[in-house]
């Protein structure tokens, strides 16, 4: 139906430090289609954000390095581009929204200037046309009275409005792919609901593909079409959203889902996973989840499980599925 915008194959990103190599992302593969929202879910330090930064090739140099894999955007292999060509992609074809709007906006420029920066850089417009473009970007994010708001500074806006401005910057050049890294985590519940509804709308209008990074399953259920669950640098399960919630296969996925308390019924006790994720410096030789897994077998400690596709669009890496 709709075409694949981004395809990531066997992406490996490591950080080389004095104490050794941290395999932050280790063999991650996924794709995102036009008009689709793909969720990357996991706990802190599971490699979600490093995956996003790798796609944009914005890793902190020289420690962070993509050591293997292939990233293709609309048929272009991003790994082969030089710095200048990559700059053409960032902000134009792929844009990003970060978690905290307070730190991603510059406090001494008006929001109009900041949105205009991307427009000017990528669209080579005349100065007198930039403002129209900026206002239409603000309008797309439904910021009330955009003609006046253009001249506001970030501190004059509320958290929700600021995050919309960040969204306007990201959408100003009509990107093919939007990477949203925990965009709603810093927002209040009702504002978060507004923001998510807004993005669903924008996606319908523009057909932008979205990679949505979050640790909040409530948000995942609301916005994502497909979800990949990450654990210690690799994807353990990928499936359409409703399957992830209703019939998760990997023990980690199901443990995560069961450890979230319900709003629509009272739980007496929560399911909890004992222990903590392994250190990325010193990963266990077999399955990474094996030390915490309730259904662990002998082989899990020895060999990494292969990724098996068990039904259309649902794949799992677990020795139990074979």
């Amino acid at each position: 139906m709709s075409e694949v915008v981004l395809r990531v194959e066997d992406l490996r990103t490591s950080f080389f430090t004095r104490v050794g190599e941290f395999k932050a992302v280790d063999g991650v593969s996924f794709y995102v289609k036009e008009g689709e929202t793909f969720g990357l879910v996991g706990e802190s330090a599971c490699g979600k954000s490093v995956t996003a930064l790798s796609l944009l090739r914005l890793l902190p140099e020289p420690a962070g390095k993509i050591v293997g894999g292939k990233i293709t955007l609309d048929g272009i292999d991003l790994m082969t581009l030089d710095k200048k060509e990559m700059r053409e992609i960032r902000g134009k074809k792929i844009s990003m929204i970060l978690q905290d709007p307070m730190t991603s906006l510059n406090p001494v420029y008006t929001v109009g200037d900041q949105i205009g920066e991307a427009v000017r850089l990528h669209q080579q417009l005349h100065d007198n046309m930039v403002e129209d473009e900026v206002i239409s970007a603000l309008r797309l994010l439904r910021i009330p009275a955009p003609e006046q708001r253009v001249h506001d500074y970030p501190f004059q806006m509320s958290g929700g409005m600021r995050q919309r401005v960040v969204g306007s910057i990201a959408m100003s050049c009509r990107p093919r792919l939007l990477i949203a890294d925990e965009p709603t985590t810093a927002l209040d519940a009702t504002i978060q609901a507004q923001y998510i509804a807004l993005f669903k709308d924008i996606q319908k209008q523009t057909g932008v593909a979205i990679i949505f990074i979050t640790h909040d399953f409530g948000v995942v259920a609301n916005i994502c079409h497909r979800v990949a669950v990450m654990y210690a640098g690799s994807i353990v399960e990928t499936a359409p959203t409703s399957i992830i919630f209703k019939a998760p296969i990997h023990p980690y996925t199901s443990a995560l889902i069961h450890s979230v308390p319900h709003l629509d019924r009272r739980d007496d006790r929560l399911y909890s996973i004992e222990g903590q994720p392994p250190s990325l410096l010193n990963l266990p030789p077999g399955c990474r989840f094996a030390p915490r897994c309730p259904e662990v077998m002998d082989i899990c400690h020895k060999e990494q499980p292969p990724t098996v596709e068990i039904s259309d669009g649902h794949s799992v890496s677990c020795w139990r599925v074979k």
Binding site: E43, S44, S158, G159, G160, M161, D188, A189, T190, I191, Q192, A193, Q194, A197, H215, F217, G218, A221, N222, H225, T241, S242, F245, K246, A255, L256, S259, V260, P261, H262, L263, D264, R266, D267, R269, L270, Y271, S272, I273, E274, Q276
Partner: protein, 334 residues
Amino acid sequence: MTELLLEGRDLKKHYPVTKGLLQRTIGWVRAIDGISFTIEQGKTLSLVGESGAGKTTVAKAVLLLERLTSGHILFEGNDVYNFSKSDLKTRYRPSVQSVQQNPWSSMNPRMRVRDIIAEPLVVNTTKTKQETRQRVLELLDQVGLAPNQADYYPHEFSGGQRQRIAVARALALNPRLVVLDEPVSALDVSIRAQIMNLLKDLQEQYNLSYLVIAHNLATVRFMSHSVAIMYLGQIVEYGDAEDVFTQPLHPYTRALMSASLLTLPEDEDQSISPIILSGEMPSPLNPPPGCRFHTRCAEAMEICSKEEPELRTVGNHQVRCHVHEDPGVHPESS
């Protein structure tokens, strides 16, 4: 059966807004404006609301970290503001302890865990070194940490473990009430469940009362016996947790629940459409006249912008809304 431990009566805290060289007061921020609640021994009361609702101001008031503009806090029936200094030190403060949101900033990074947990004991009791040592080990065991970890520094622990240390410190003096300010929101999903289970176990074991400040409704439902939903410095709905969650009456409560409810893509095609509020919470510096929620309320009537609704009892819980004023015109809720 259950005894009343702490009561807040009509608490108000107004912060002055000053301007200029002479610090002239040009207005007041009504952080909390007439909050009343009760906490029973062994039970949990949760305050829920978005940022700016005044939850933390209430917590600070209960911990006596903030002097109220007016109102009374009654501890076992006695007004805390009438306590003498020595009474406060021996009776109130040891009984009311707190656990803060962020375990990365609530501990001195240069102290060993042993000393962090022992600090309340050293300050408030006359235990010998040997007794203190013993008590610290007991506490570590209660929160699920190993005795040898007493000699570690906070940075050697993960977030979940640090929050366990914070809980151990709060329990050191055998408190009656623990104020938990967003106890799990800084933690990862799989760790949250561990800490929430731990808090529940400890409550049962020691008959503790909790005052929980939270914004995540699902967490609150799991933890609480009663719930107060706050909006712009006021309680808009207050009652038994199960009543409030199964039959939310106030439009704000319903919107909040809808925003936090897990809706799968296929549910949306059916009739369950989420309630999305327009706009944002107004400034507490200049709260709207009438009902404070009317600017965002889908059910607002003419009276809502003129008259402030009272908190009144409807069914089993209290609600501050004109729609629920007269039991005769009670609309179908949820």
